[in-house]
């Protein structure tokens, strides 16, 4: 089962990671307007603005060209570190690259219902500020290898099995009423209260708010048991529900 990653000569290893990341959904391309709003936010919650990495999402904007450099400068002036741009036209992508930023393709057509109050005054450092109460998602059936089921807000409930090679993600907790054999990631926007619950633990990976455990790290006595997983002192704590 070893991936043979500990070769002496290697200088690094590539690892897949799911890090909580704040997305700054731009609804205006005007750097001055952004500056004004940021200034207000900094006074509300200064703790959040400490070189916090952000992804600038320009999906909502309908402008082929952006003053990306100026927007980044405004962000940096307020101790936000733009690391990547999401969405936008090809020129936007090119200028992101030119500025040393990453570029992500736009998210697939998402429901726009909760976005009527963009960037509401939400002092918490959460991914996307949502004025509506978090609604979960219920998935019935087997989540199969290669499939990914996500609850971008709230909890995810899977009534069925999560098979090896499958991935289930939630902003809140992940509940699996069946065997959990794939990867389960809760609190993907950084919610440290989130948990993972399953009827039968055989997960390839468990992750809560960016902290993770691999199958190898899990006490074998807990395997195939009904368990709950919670975050305690940055450690995943797995306990039997039996």
């Amino acid at each position: 089962m070893s991936l043979n990653m500990d070769r002496v000569a290697s200088a690094f290893t590539f690892k897949g990671g799911m890090l909580p990341m704040t997305v700054m959904e731009l609804t205006s391309a005007d750097p001055e307007q952004i500056r004004a709003q940021l200034a207000g936010k900094v006074s509300q919650s200064p703790a959040f603005f400490q070189h916090t990495p952000v992804v600038l999402s320009v999906e909502q904007l309908d402008e082929p060209h952006l003053a990306l450099e100026r927007i980044c400068a405004v962000c940096r002036a307020h101790k936000l570190l733009p690391v990547a741009v999401r969405g936008g036209t090809d020129p936007v992508k090119q200028s992101a690259w030119a500025l040393g930023l990453g570029w992500f393709p736009p998210q697939e057509a998402r429901p726009r219902a909760v976005e009527e109050a963009p960037l509401a005054a939400e002092p918490q450092p959460e991914g996307e500020a949502s004025p509506a109460p978090a609604v979960g998602r219920i998935y019935r059936g087997t989540v199969r290898s290669g499939q990914q089921v996500t609850a971008p807000e709230g909890d995810l409930v899977v009534v069925g099995a999560v098979n090896p090679g499958a991935e289930v993600l939630a902003a809140g907790s992940v509940h699996v009423y069946g065997p959990l054999r794939g990867r389960a990631l809760g609190g993907i926007h950084g919610d440290r209260q989130a948990g993972i619950f399953c009827k039968e633990l055989h997960a390839e990976l468990l992750s809560l708010a960016g902290n993770y455990k691999r199958l190898e790290d899990i006490d074998p006595r807990l395997l195939n048991q009904p368990v709950q997983v919670q975050l305690r002192d940055d450690q995943l704590n797995i306990s039997s529900l039996g």
């Binding site: 087997t142 199969r144 290898s145 290669g146 499939q147 099995a161 098979n163 090896p164 090679g165 499958a166 065997p179 054999r181």
Partner: protein, 272 residues
């Protein structure tokens, strides 16, 4: 209207073509007008297994590109009435396989046949997706080992999302599990996953279980689908599979067959 059955697996070498040949032959032997199509462009094997490789003139790609008529490309099986083979091209580029072309061929065949069996290439790329796209039913061929089970799981995910039925929100493709190369001895010794392990993970209806058998290799090399060899366990197991596909209730066999001298271990485990 014909029923379109895709024989698929994700993983290569698990017995797709052998199964497609055996099942198509079995359906024809039961009086159903059947055609079996090789979708594995560039690695065509079905004609060898069916023993008609010397009679291939035109192939699926020729038909799709309008270089030959469907009736020119269809090869009538010598042993079995009601059975035709539509071979793949060995030389063409697999990109020549277009959805529109395949749809047209299937539509035309649908008028005349009861069953269209599509032998999918391995993998999850273009050819495999096209082979499954128009399917009404799918036979997912799986060996009792972890990598095969995982690939089958992946294919089941695609069947639920990347088929015409899924895209049109029609009733889903009926999925059947066919376990091949099952060796009860190696299951008992822990080398292979048990039938129950496989069924538990894939969670679909089991349509058949084919024991590991010398008859299969012999049949492949002779170009005679193994259902013709009704003395063999594999031949009988495929015949059972065909019966179940046709809706008959046939008890499962060969999942606890033991070689001589090992009878004592027979009841040790895996009995269900």
């Amino acid at each position: 209207m014909a029923k379109i059955i895709v024989v698929t697996s994700g993983k290569g070498g698990v017995g797709k073509t052998t199964s497609a040949a055996a099942i198509a032959t079995g359906l024809a032997l039961r009086g159903n007008k059947t055609v079996v199509i090789d979708f594995d462009v560039g690695l065509r094997n079905l004609d060898l297994i069916m023993g008609c490789e010397r009679r291939v003139v035109y192939d699926l790609i020729n038909v799709i590109q309008g270089e030959a008529g469907l009736n020119q490309a269809l090869i009538r099986d010598k042993r079995t009435e009601n059975l035709h083979i539509l071979p793949a091209s060995q030389t063409r580029d697999k990109e020549a396989l277009t959805p529109e072309g395949v749809e047209k061929v299937l539509e035309t065949l649908s008028q005349e046949y009861d069953f269209i069996v599509c032998d999918s290439p391995a993998g999850i790329e273009h050819g495999a997706q096209l082979a499954m796209y128009f399917a009404d039913e799918a036979i997912v061929v799986t060996n009792p080992e972890v990598s095969s089970v995982r690939d089958s799981d992946r294919i089941l995910g695609l069947l639920a999302s990347k088929t015409r039925r899924a895209e049109r929100s029609e009733p889903p493709v009926r999925e059947h599990l066919l376990i091949t190369r099952y060796d009860p001895n190696r299951v008992t010794s822990g080398d292979m996953l048990t039938l129950e392990d496989v069924r538990e993970i894939l969670a679909i209806n089991l349509v058949g279980l084919i024991p590991e058998s010398e008859a299969v290799l012999r049949a492949s090399n002779q170009g005679v689908p193994v259902v013709h060899d009704m003395d063999s366990d594999a031949g009988q197991a495929y015949a059972d599979t065909v019966s179940r596909l046709l809706g008959e209730d046939v008890p499962l066999r060969f999942h606890e067959y033991q070689k001589k001298g090992l009878l004592s271990r027979m009841f040790g485990g895996g009995r269900r």
